[in-house]
């Protein structure tokens, strides 16, 4: 994967497969201490303790259809290659939290990439799932909570094309503003 935003999209698919109704994505860019932290958490079915140490092994998967599972393995590899690490906490029946850290300035750290595309994709393709996004860059913050948006929309679907168009503008503008002036 060329971008961290693609890893985020991919890891969130695990949450969807675990029947999560809420996925929280948090990004903290802190160049002052040379640290980038990405946390993806959900309220899905969780991972049994005996499988927790296997999940970054590409030859382990919970699927029955084939014998490889690359998502977490690739994300973990990207973190380790950039002087960071990947940790997974999970409680069966409660949910899972994936935390990846990166040395911010590391030459092998992939760019965050098109985060707006990732968020929009998750929201549009999974209108029944709520997404909470929190992104900190230095002292600035951009946040989005689909629960608030859906409340405003009442009976109108969050993936109606006119709403998608609004969301797209809202996210791109919010992220632009986050990096404003740089």
């Amino acid at each position: 994967m060329r971008e961290l935003s693609l890893h985020i999209l991919d890891i969130a698919q695990n949450s969807i497969a675990a029947s999560a109704s809420l996925i929280s994505i948090s990004i903290d860019e802190n160049p002052a201490v040379d640290l980038l932290t990405i946390v993806i958490s959900d309220n899905g079915s969780g991972i049994a303790p005996k499988h927790l140490n296997q999940i970054t092994d590409p030859f382990y998967t919970s699927r029955k259809t084939r014998e490889v599972g690359l998502g977490l393995a690739l994300f973990s590899q990207a973190a380790r290659r950039s002087g960071g690490e990947l940790k997974v906490n999970s409680t069966v029946g409660r949910g899972t939290e994936v935390t990846a850290t990166f040395r911010y300035s590391h030459i092998d750290r992939p760019p965050l990439g098109d985060l707006a595309g990732t968020l929009l994709g998750l929201i549009v393709l999974n209108p029944e799932i709520d997404i909470v996004y929190h992104h900190q860059y230095k002292a600035k913050t951009f946040a989005l909570d689909t629960r608030v948006i859906k409340k405003e929309l009442g009976g109108v679907a969050v993936n109606h094309r006119a709403v998608v168009s609004w969301l797209k503008g809202f996210i791109y503008e919010g992220l632009d503003d986050l990096y404003g002036g740089e």
């Binding site: 994967m1 693609l6 999209l9 991919d10 698919q13 497969a17 259809t65 084939r66 599972g69 690359l70 998502g71 690739l74 098109d114 595309g117 990732t118 929009l120 994709g121 549009v124 393709l125 999974n126 608030v148 948006i149 405003e152 929309l153 009442g154 009976g155 109108v156 993936n159 109606h160 094309r161 006119a162 709403v163 998608v164 168009s165 609004w166 797209k168 503008g169 809202f170 503008e173 919010g174 503003d177």
Partner: protein, 124 residues
């Protein structure tokens, strides 16, 4: 700046529009969002689809599926018109999206040179 105020106005407009429309029998576009699909460019395909639907003001359900075992053909995009077979397109590029939407979704003709599989209604 996009605001929630703008969203409220949009809601009022859309509620009128939705009340007037029959919601059944919409075409469906399904995108493969497994690790293989994402790595091959599924997100960019979805963005091309959304842009095309917006441009042509088309009412289509967009949804996702996981890895279906045809990783080497990703990105995969399926089109299912009401009452018709589900057609799978493989190695789709953002440029192909416009053609698939115009020829298949709008005009009902399968784009034969891009199609790699077909499933009877209710299959999988």
């Amino acid at each position: 700046m996009k605001s929630l105020e703008e969203l409220r106005k949009l809601r009022a407009e859309l509620e009128k529009e939705l009340a007037a429309r029959n919601s059944e029998g919409k075409p469906k576009i399904i995108i493969g969002m497994g690790t293989c699909g994402i790595a091959a460019g599924a997100r960019e395909i979805l963005q091309a689809v959304l842009q095309e639907l917006e441009k042509r003001n088309l009412d289509v359900i967009t949804t996702q599926t996981g890895c279906i075992g045809m990783c080497e053909q990703e990105p995969l995009l399926d089109v299912e018109l009401p009452g018709k077979e589900r057609i799978t397109y493989g190695k789709v590029t953002p440029k192909d999206v416009e053609r698939i939407i115009v020829e298949h979704v709008v005009n009902g003709n399968v784009v034969e040179d891009l199609a790699i599989a077909r499933l009877e209604e209710g299959g999988i």
